[in-house]
Amino acid sequence: MRSTYRVLAYLIAAEVVIQASAIAYAVFGLTKYIDDGAVVDKATQETGETFEGVVGFIVHGINGSTVIPAIALVLLVVSFFARIPGGVRWAGALVALVVLQVTLGMFAHGLPLLGALHGINALAVFAVAVVAGRRARSGPMRAASTTSTADRAVV
């Protein structure tokens, strides 16, 4: 369970990297498409296969709305079994941050400035995922020895 927790936490961190990479690929593909003389409007946007990099938007959307929240929920369930000091709270924090991230992503379509927070919160998701993964990194004894300070920090 401990290693499952660790793998899931790092998986979320890796997903954040994929998300950043995918959206950058998509945006650069989009600007090249426009530079080449094409026009994007709602009709072309809804068509899908328009330019190199459009897959980045699709990956970002599916990952962000479905895959990452699912991993975060599984991590939270696993955290109850993993006996990692503070593990439940870190997993819970990760779920909360992911929920915030999805919400920001959805509402940024109407209020683009929320997209700026979406970008910042992505780093928070990444950082918390890495911390959670590191807490599950070592054996039970060593983890127990670090418990008190870490828990104080959280509380």
């Binding site: 094409a38 026009v39 409007d41 709602k42 009709a43 072309t44 946007q45 809804e46 068509t47 899908g48 296969e49 328009t50 330019f51 459009v54 709305s65 479905t66 699912a70 369930v77 109850f80 079994f81 006996r83 000091p85 959805m106 509402f107 379509h109 109407g110 418990t147 828990d151 509380v155």
Partner: protein, 523 residues
């Protein structure tokens, strides 16, 4: 912090198992109940919504028993209705008179060459995509023989915007069975509405329409007054916009389309948006008039400069331009990417106007002058809500963020029940985070208000209506075309994601089935 002692005992495991069951059991329940039967009738979907009107006697109990389709998987619909019940199949044109216009459409799945020269792997009708332009006169009877030569999933043809008899509406599994390879189907209907329309497959439509199984259909008035007075001065052009492989085309061409139009000529450009999102159209080099929306002429539309017209996905807009007397070229911009260039002669007269940025979008709510509607939207027989939202859940066993209708996920969506002759009012509201081009089959509805602001312009009759996120439209229509009609999002992938409901007339029965085992998959 040390774990409490009880957590270390066997009670901890009990608590964990209990907690897991509390999480997993509802998830499993929602998953299982979202699974679609391999064959079902659309009339068994969801729950009936009578909109405050009559419940149609025996039908009420019958429908109530069907609420929640998952409880009766795979049951064909054979409601025992009163003696007036009619099957969808019987709702035809009702005349044996010979057709005035005969068309044969042969569908193929193939690699083909667009008019502009680009090669596309998709679908053709009579070897081309877009398919042949069908032009006819108001009052004529059109007969179309549809032959499926090689489209493996089967095909149908839906006459988008034409309020045809239900049996000719061309929706697989709702008004007919899809036409398999080697099969054929004959559509026959009267062309009572003059205007700009289009046709497209309504079987696996999110693929087949995108892939090119579509074409333009234009019905001219039987005796067009202006044309009769001065036929040489009228230019009538179709501009069918379709995106093939990510690039927009007009009538199959990637580049700008030159149109012969002498100085002083009145040019009617019939814009058809066959794609999944709205397209802006504007004119550079001359003022223009938006003379018709979705096939219906507007009343006293004013001249426009510095305005763009938003053409809804699936919708049409007819622009009229009077060519400048000095012979200069007029550019009709479609989506910013493509244009029609209106001018005379081989050599361009003067410079071609630039595309420019899209001007402010015209609001049809206050454009033109009011006119009698022929119905009173303030005294409806039925009032419905079609409220679009979005939430996490399962549709067809697949987890995701899915569209909801009145808070329910597909297929547990309302069935809007009406009686023949009812005046129906519907509030379409959207809080789903994305825009939805809503399309009601078989009827034209008039826009009454948007976000509570009443319409003050020309009657704005639509069959396809862009409802943006946060918007709410009140529309009204007369239920005068009995049948079972789709009422869905024309961003076709959204329809596959469950943004589909139906309008059903009392006493109409559904002989067709949809689902994996039926070969009918209208979305």
């Amino acid at each position: 912090m040390r774990a409490p002692r009880w957590l270390t005992s066997h009670r901890r495991w009990l608590a964990i198992c209990l907690a897991a069951a509390i999480v997993v059991w509802p998830l499993g329940y929602f998953w299982a109940s979202s699974l679609l039967p391999s064959s079902y009738s659309v009339t068994d979907m969801g729950y009936p919504d009578y909109g405050g009107g009559s419940r149609g006697g025996d039908q009420q109990g019958e429908m109530a028993g069907m609420a929640g389709m998952h409880r009766m998987p795979g049951m064909p619909s054979t409601p025992e209705m009163s003696s007036v019940s009619r099957s969808v199949e019987t709702l035809t044109v009702g005349t044996d008179r010979p057709a005035d216009v005969l068309v044969t459409l042969t569908a193929r799945k193939q690699v083909f060459t667009l008019a502009g020269g680009r090669s596309v792997d998709g679908y053709t009708l009579n070897g081309t995509s877009p398919g042949p332009e069908i032009r006819a006169l108001q009052g004529q009877l059109l007969e179309v023989r549809l032959i499926n030569e090689s489209v493996p999933d089967g095909i149908t043809v839906h006459w988008h915007g034409l309020d045809v008899p239900n049996a000719d509406d061309g929706v697989a599994g709702v008004t007919q069975n899809s036409v398999p390879v080697g099969g054929e189907f004959v559509y026959r209907f009267l062309l009572s509405q003059a205007g700009t329309y289009w046709y497209h497959s309504h079987q696996v439509s999110h693929e087949q329409v995108v892939g090119g199984l579509l074409g333009a259909l234009v019905i001219s008035p039987a005796a067009p007054a202006a044309a009769a007075a001065d036929p040489g001065a009228v230019v009538d052009e179709i501009a069918l916009a379709h995106i093939y492989d990510g690039r927009r085309t007009i009538n199959g061409r990637d580049d700008d389309v030159p149109i012969q139009a002498p100085p002083g000529a009145r040019v009617r450009v019939r814009i058809i948006n066959t794609d999944n999102g709205a397209m802006l159209a504007w004119v550079a080099g001359a003022p223009f008039t938006l003379v018709a929306v979705d096939g219906t002429d507007l009343n006293e539309p004013g001249r426009l400069t510095d305005r763009a017209v938003q053409v809804t996905a699936g919708g049409r807009a007819d622009l009229e331009i009077v060519q400048p007397a000095d012979g200069s070229i007029v550019r009709v911009v479609l989506g910013g990417s493509n244009s029609l260039l209106l001018g005379s002669g081989g050599a361009p007269a003067g410079p071609v106007p630039a595309v420019g940025a899209a001007p402010e979008i015209l609001d049809p709510l206050s454009y033109g002058a009011p006119a009698p509607l022929g119905l009173n939207p303030d005294a409806p027989d039925r009032s419905f809500d079609y409220s679009i939202g979005r939430r996490p859940g399962f549709v067809g066993g697949v987890p995701g963020l899915w569209w909801t209708i009145n808070g329910h996920l597909f297929p547990d969506v309302p069935m809007f029940v009406v009686a023949d002759g009812d005046v129906v009012r519907m509030r379409i509201s959207n809080d789903s985070g994305e825009v939805h081009p809503m399309h009601l089959h078989g009827h034209h509805a008039v826009v009454v208000s948007r976000n509570g602001v009443p319409a003050t312009g020309s009657p704005w009759w639509v069959d396809s209506l862009t409802v943006a996120d946060g918007e709410s439209y009140d529309i009204a229509f007369r239920a005068d075309n009995p049948g079972i009609w789709m009422d869905h999002c024309h961003n076709l992938p959204h329809a596959t994601q469950g943004l589909v409901a139906h309008l059903m007339y009392e006493g109409v029965t559904e002989p067709f089935l949809v689902g994996a085992d039926t070969g009918n998959q209208p979305e």
